[in-house]
Amino acid sequence: MATDTAAPQIDVAPPRGWRTWFTQENIITTIVGLIVAVAVIVPLIALVINSFLVLDDLGFDTEWGLQNYREVFQGRVIRKALINTAIISTGCTILATLLGVSLAWINARTNCPFREKLEPFNLIPFFLSPFVGAIAWHNLASPKVGLLNNMAKSIFGISFPLFNVNNLWGVIWVTGIFFAPLVYLFVVGSLRRMDPSLEDSARTTGAGLFRTTMTITLPLVTPAILSGAIIVFVTTAGEFGVPFKLSAPFGWETLTTQIFTKAVGDDANHYLGAAMSMVVGVVTAFFIWVQHRIIAPRSYTTVTGKGFRPNLIDLGGWKWLAFTYNMLYVCVAVFLPIICLFFVSLHKIWSGRIIWSELTFWNYQKVLFFWWPESIQAATNGIINSFILAFGGASIAMVVAIIVSYMIHRTKGFGARLLDFLSVIPIGFPGIVLAMGVLVTYIRTPIYATLWILLLGYITRFFPYGQRNISSIMMAVSEELDQSSRMAGASWLTTLRRITIPLLKPGIFAGWILLFVIFLRELSISIILYSAGTETLSVGVYYLSNFENEPMTSALSIAQTVALLICIVIFRKVAGKEALTA
């Protein structure tokens, strides 16, 4: 019966003290926030504007119009590329989802033998370059120089080529096996964090094992599966290297290979390229929006869930089938491509068969010995540039990521919401699309044709990956730890340096290595923004593949792969097993 004492209604005057606004915290976060906003938004606006500019027949003047879009949807070549892109993305999504879900289930929920040993290998393709994968599979299964085809011929006497990856199926195959880990990562986390009592309840009501898996387990991880599938679809739509290597030379163009020809080369038309980029970007951004706003919030398993010990299913004799299946995947996705590339790289000329007497390391000298006058500049430049870009880019991107995460999680108001939004946008646009935007924005500035434009493109596109790494830790660390430091007399910057950053250290380092890996293999941004002298590793591989021969290409590919594998080992040491499966 306590009587209510009503709170008096007070007219609150808006805070007036603008002079009190100038604190370290406000100044630094505002500057970084503005830089991020400009870096993300300006290229996209430039892309929109340029897509409505039509180049005249002489190629000098432009006028406003919709001609570019008409060309995309009605022009014979580009329309076919659009259809091919849709086919590849759909096919790859189906293949990668089937592979990813089945492998995740085997590793997380069955008693498949050696699954702890196999799991890291399932994730290796995630870190490697799909472009290199395509080169490897070209050498494994193209009709003429394919190692597998030639082995089939010499061992079984099969005269016609058994495999042919120089078509859309080949692109689907390579992207499918390389993007399966994306689905795997989404699903395996969900499977591991699932409350086992959900399944136990089904079992106690009389549902069998199979039925429980089908009616309880799989439906519970459906949001994770859908999220993974969408990411794969979007990634494939923006994938440049694989179709460029496998299908484009044989008449199967995709939108990305078409954008590339419009960005560089003899019939460059940035305006048409911008329009094509817009089409890809609108579709991918829409899918990412669906994933973020509709699917992810419906996820049944939460990150903050307790550490459950999931139910393991005894497969009985079938466990060896599961093991074989998993081994097969690791073979076609990791071992076979790397071994094949290695053998190709040891030949001076590759004819589709291993000639033991002619093995040589000569190709490695040509592509790695940058001090050697006869080395190939595009390749050696690429190595040096890529390490500069990966080191500098990862470092700057992580600084940006820390400040952005800080603003999102530790400040309130418009700035925090804006940045939260801004750090999703780059994920929605494939590298090649964003690079097209960066190209048309900065082509008339001094940073064009320097490493800076590449750095800008890399950071803009990929800082959200670092930001997610930081954010997940920042959400788990109490804000009061920072505030105690302020109360003890430390300034905002001192607190950041002595409390916040040390607490985030594991996340910062894991994020840094992840970005380092991504930058070291980056192709679709680099291919648009590079120029003579600013080649990157993947551009070097592209150059060798286009203008030199397969053995040299393979040699540089192996060099890149080894560097990436070293990073994976470090990443696993630093970030721990669960780091990626959040």
Partner: protein, 365 residues
């Protein structure tokens, strides 16, 4: 001018007014507790003092200097205020040792190595953690972390120490222990303290003065005895201890005493009672009678003579160890009675309640 002066403090979060114009002064060396239910604005008030929130309007002065003044555009950052704060989550930095945690504020203040060593050791000894100086915070128990947080907050001799529900994460026994220890420490060090809690026992045991808050407004300020014995309104009476509150009508004043009647409804005659309080209220005014469960006597037989006799029926009894908690139905009211003589009481049994006039307090709205 008091040591800490808060004037007309207002803070809202969007449409929600958390603190609706608070005036409060705290003397040097005083231990003041802000007490109230969650959402009453006590923590927001504390965070405004700390500089962790920007108030919408109002002034805060410490030692005569403005630390926050919205009208004068003064806002000192938290680190410029020289305060200490103990957080609910302890917020002991896990990447530092106990010693480094406590020494942090001294290092920020660029004290000499020797001074840091001496002061930190002294503070750690004060909270009884001298032997754990080199241990990492992650290896400590909740109570130990609490002590680290405390040592860290007082080591650089801040002007005021702010406590944000520091004991709420401890288990009951440890909480009681820490309560005593904190009080002793505060008296020894003599540091000005502002303490936020929702636990009335904590507030009553530890404070020099208690500030009861609800809905962003101060309901009553006073020393623990007066808050408990003389609540000024129904909210305070109900929140501080469990009080029986019954609505009634004032009939008249008789010197110190007040006559009143409580309607029972259903056509039954109202009961007439004598109590204290509501001195200024006119005859016929609506009042609320507050009686604490431990001040009510329960009789099995109708006593020959007793003041304020009320008839009722037992609804429920709960055995609570050292006493029995008995609910008695009186008309529409459920009256809680605490008894320490353990009679057999059956549900539905008729009993008689009585209390002396000085235990019944009339409150006006």
């Amino acid at each position: 001018m008091s040591f800490v002066e808060i004037k007309k403090l207002v803070k809202s979060f969007g449409p929600e007014v958390a603190v609706a114009g608070i005036d409060l002064s705290v003397e040097q060396g005083e231990f003041v507790t802000l007490l109230g239910p969650s959402g009453c604005g006590k923590t927001t008030t504390l965070r405004c003092i700390a500089g962790l929130e920007h108030p919408d309007s109002g002034d805060i002065q410490i030692e005569g200097d403005y630390v926050t003044s919205v009208s004068n555009e003064v806002f000192l950052t938290p680190e410029e205020r020289n305060l200490g704060m103990v957080f609910q989550s302890y917020a002991v930095w896990p990447h530092m040792t106990v010693f480094d945690n406590v020494a942090y504020g001294l290092r920020i203040r660029r004290e000499t190595r020797a001074a840091i060593k001496e002061k930190t050791t002294k503070a750690l000894d004060l909270v009884g953690l001298g032997h754990l100086a080199e241990r990492y915070a992650t290896k400590l128990s909740g109570g130990q972390r609490q002590r680290v947080a405390l040592a860290r907050a007082i080591v650089y001799n801040p002007k005021v120490v702010l406590f944000d529900e520091p004991l709420s994460n401890l288990d009951a026994k440890l909480r009681e222990h820490m309560r005593i220890e904190l009080t002793r420490l505060q008296h020894d060090v003599g540091i000005t303290s502002i303490y936020v809690t929702h636990d009335q026992t904590e507030a009553l045991v530890m404070s020099d003065r208690v500030v009861v808050m609800d809905k962003g407004v101060i309901q009553q300020i006073g020393d623990p005895e007066s808050i408990y014995a003389e609540p000024t309104n129904a909210f305070v009476a109900n929140f501080i201890g469990v009080a029986n509150l019954m609505e009634g009508k004032l009939l008249g004043h008789d010197g110190e005493l007040t006559d009143l009647e409580i309607p029972l409804g259903d056509g039954r005659a109202p009961i007439r009672l004598r109590a204290t309080g509501a001195e200024g209220a006119p005859v016929g005014a609506k009042i609320i009678l507050s009686i604490r469960p431990e001040d009510i006597l329960l009789h099995l037989e109708k006593p020959a003579e007793a003041m304020n006799l009320i008839e009722g029926e037992v609804i429920d009894t709960v055995y609570l160890g050292n006493f029995l908690d008995c609910q008695v139905q009186v008309g529409p009211h459920e009256v809680g009675v605490q008894i320490d003589h353990f009679e057999e009481l059956d549900t539905g049994q008729k009993v008689y309640l009585s209390f002396t006039p000085d235990h019944g307090l009339c409150l006006t709205e």
